[in-house]
C-alpha cells in the first residue's frame, strides 16, 4: 500500500512538475538540524522534495532534531492544515506522526527529541524513514515525500529501552515433552560372567564341605527311626521354596499366605519329631 502511495505521490510530483495543471503543495527553505545540548549545533542539511538526503541523520540520546520549512501552495507561502513529519520503521511498518507548528506565512517548525520517539521505533534495526506530509483542504494536491533517514544512537550508559510484548491471541510454539531416559543395562556378557561366577560358588561350597568330611551317612538310620517326620520335614522345606518360586512367577500375596501357613504348620509339627531324633543321635555321641 505504501509503495503504491509513494508511487502515487511521485506521479503527482511529476504531474505537478511537467504540466503545472492542478495546484499542489510543496515546500521551500527546508532544513534539518541536529541540536545537541553538549556540543551545540551539529549537522545542518538542506532538504529537497525531489531527493532524500543521501546520508542518514544521526540523533544522539540527548539530541533534538529541528526541522524548518516553508510550505507553499502553488509557489506562494500558505499555512497547510496538515504538516506532519512521519517517522517510520521500515521493517514493521509502524509510524509515528510529529505535527509541525505552522504560521500564516507557511513557515513550519518542528522539533523531535529522542525522548519523544516511541520505544518501538527506537529499537528498530534499520534507520527510520522520515517523510513529510503536507496537505490541506481545497483542490491543491497534498505532498507526501521521503526526506531523510534517521539513525537513533542510544545512550550506551543508560539501560536500553525495552517494551513488554503485548499479548496477542495467536498460535503458540509447540511443546513436546522430553521423556526421562530409559534405564540402561550393562553389556550382557558381563552380567553372564558374574552370574556364572555366582553359580560356581555352589559346587565350590560342596567341595569344601566334602573335603572337611561332610556326608549323608545317617540318612538311612534317621529314616529308619522316624521315616514320616523326616520326609515331611524335608519335604516341607522344599515345598516352602517352591511356594516362594510360585510367588515370584505367578501368585499374589493372598494366594501365598494360606499355603505358607499350611506348609509352615507341617514344618513345625514334623520338625519337632525329626529334630528330636537328631538330638537323640547327638546325645548318643553319633554327631
Amino acid at each position: 500500500m505504501h509503495f503504491s502511495k509513494s508511487l502515487l505521490s511521485a506521479a503527482l510530483l511529476l504531474a505537478a512538475g511537467v504540466a503545472e495543471a492542478a495546484s499542489s503543495w510543496s515546500f521551500d527553505d527546508a532544513t534539518v538540524a541536529v541540536v545537541s545540548k553538549k556540543a551545540g549545533d551539529g549537522l545542518k542539511e538542506k532538504l529537497n522534495a525531489k531527493k532524500p538526503l543521501s546520508k542518514p541523520v544521526t540523533i544522539g540520546s540527548s539530541d533534538t532534531i529541528k526541522i524548518t520549512l516553508t510550505a507553499k501552495d502553488n509557489g506562494s507561502g500558505k499555512r497547510p492544515h496538515q504538516a506532519f513529519v512521519v517517522l517510520k520503521d521500515v521493517d514493521s511498518g509502524l509510524e509515528a506522526p510529529f505535527p509541525l507548528t505552522t504560521k500564516d506565512t507557511g513557515k513550519a517548525v518542528g522539533q523531535i527529541s529522542q525522548k519523544e520517539i516511541p520505544v518501538q521505533l527506537l529499537l528498530a534495526t534499520k534507520p527510520l524513514q522520515a517523510s513529510i506530509v503536507i496537505g490541506s483542504f481545497g483542490s491543491a494536491h497534498g505532498l507526501n515525500t521521503h526526506l531523510f533517514d534517521l539513525t537513533v544512537q542510544l545512550d550506551p550508559n543508560a539501560p536500553a529501552p525495552s517494551t513488554e510484548k503485548t499479548l496477542r491471541y495467536a498460535k503458540q510454539p509447540e511443546i513436546h515433552h522430553i521423556f526421562k531416559a530409559d534405564p540402561k543395562n550393562p553389556p550382557k556378557i558381563i552380567s553372564l560372567v558374574f552370574a556364572l561366577a555366582v553359580v560356581a560358588t555352589v559346587p565350590a561350597l560342596f567341595l569344601g564341605w566334602f573335603s572337611l568330611g561332610a556326608n549323608l551317612d545317617h540318612l538311612t538310620t534317621a529314616l529308619g527311626k522316624a521315616p514320616l517326620s523326616h520326609t515331611a520335614f524335608l519335604g516341607s522345606i522344599v515345598a516352602m521354596e517352591f511356594v516362594f518360586f510360585l510367588y515370584y512367577s505367578t501368585w499374589n500375596l493372598f494366594q501365598v499366605l494360606p499355603v505358607v501357613g499350611l506348609v509352615g504348620a507341617v514344618t513345625v509339627l514334623s520338625g519337632t519329631k525329626a529334630l528330636g531324633e537328631v538330638q537323640a543321635r547327638r546325645l548318643a555321641g553319633q554327631r
Partner: protein
Amino acid sequence: MKSFLSFSLLLLATLVSAISSTGDRLLAVLDDVAEKATYSKFLGDLESRGFKITYETPKSESLSLFRLGERKYDHVIFFPTKAKGLGPNLTPNLLVQFLNQKGNILLTLSSEVPAATSLVSLLTELDITLPSDRTGLVVDHFNHDVLSAADAHDVLLLPVPRPARPDVADLFASGAPADTPIAFPRGAGVLLGAGPLLTPIVRAPATAYLYNPKEQAEVLAADELFGAGAQLALVAGMQARNSARLAVVGSAEMLSDKWFDAKVTKVGEKKEVPTYNREVAKRVAGWAFQETGVLKVNWVEHRLNEAGPGANVSNPAMYRIKNDVTYKISLSQWDWDKWTGFTVPANDDLQLEFSMLSPFHRLHLAVDAAHSSPEATAYTASFKLPDQHGIFNFKVNYKRPFLTNIEEKNTVSVRHMAHDEWPRSYVISGAWPWIAGIGATITAWLAFVAVWMFSKPADARVVLKKTQ
C-alpha cells in the same frame, strides 16, 4: 404436557429464526424513530436476515434492556443521538451488564453529533478512547472522494478491510472485488488500547488524521493531535471473554442508504466506482450480532491408542504414564444461517495442550476427515502421555480475534506404573547375577539342612577330643 408444548414451541422458534446463532431480538436506539428511513436498506437487510427490530428513542420510558433480570434483547444498535446522556435506562453500568449477559452491541459514531456520555464511558471501560470532546472528524487529503468531498476531504475512500495479520480469519474482505473502495463519510475515529480483546477492523490510511472541526478548523496545534495514521481505528471490534461482541463504527453515515448506492472517485482517477459499503455493513453487523465467526464444540473424545482391555473405552477417567492416546474434537462454525465445518485460517493452528499447571505437550491438531461432515470438522492428535503422574487436562484454548473463544478442558488422572506392569527381572540382563545369587543361596540352604541332619562324624578323634 405443558413443558412438552413449550419445548416444541421453543424448537419451532429456533427453526424459524435460524439467523443469528444467539437470538433475533434487536433493539435500535435512534434520536427519532423517523430517522430509520435514512438507514432503511441497512435495517431492511437485517430484517430480511430474520432480525426482529424494535425502535426506541433514549427518551422513551418503556425502554429497558432487562426484564426480571434477563435480557429483553439479544443485540442493540446505537445510532448517533443528540442528547448528551442516554437516560437512566442506558447507563454504562447497564450496558456493561448487557455485555456480561452475552448481549451484543453495535455502536455508531458521527463527527456531527458528539457521542453520548454513557457510550463514551462504556468505551472507556473497554479501553477504547474517544477524543476528549467526544467527537472529531477524520480527514485525509490523499484518499478522499473527489466527487462528494473535493474541498472538505472528509469522505475517506478505504480499501476493503483485509486482516491485519496473516493468521487472522478473513471475515470482512473474503470474496470482495480487488479495487472496490469503502466510503467513510464524516466519521470519527477511536484509539484502541493494547489489550488482546480489541481488534481494529478498518484502520485509517497513513495520511489520515483526526481534528475537531469546531476548534481546530484553521490551525491544528502540534500538541493537540489526537491521532493520525494507522493508530486511528475507524471500525473496531471487541470480543469479551464470554464472546459477547461490541463493534464501533466511526461513521453512522456509512450505513445510510445514500452511501450504499453512491458512486465515488479516488484522487487522481476519473473512474466512478460503486462503494462496497452495503457488504461491509452487512459483515460488520453480522459479526457483531453473532452471525459469522461463531464457533462451537460438538464433541470431544479421548481414548487409549493401544491394543488391550481399555482400547474401546471412550473418555476414560484414568490413564497410565506413557500410554499412547488419541484426542479428537469436533468444531462447527455458524455461517450466516447454518452450521458448517470450521476450517482453521491459513497460517493459524488449532493446538491441543496436555497440561498440569503448565503444558507438558502442545501439539498441532490435524483435520480428521473420517469423522468430519459438512456440518462439523473433526480435529485429532495422537501422542504419548508424559512420564509424570498427576491430574492432567486435555485443553484446547483457541482464542483468536473475531472468532468465538473456545476453552475446552477435560480432566483425567494419569497414574504411575503398577508393580506388575514393569518388565520381569529375568528380562533385565543386569539382574542375572542377583537371580543366580538367590538360586545359589536356596540350593546351598537345602544342602546345608540335609548335611546338618544326616551327617555322620567323619573322624573318631574329633569325638575323642570333645570327650576329654
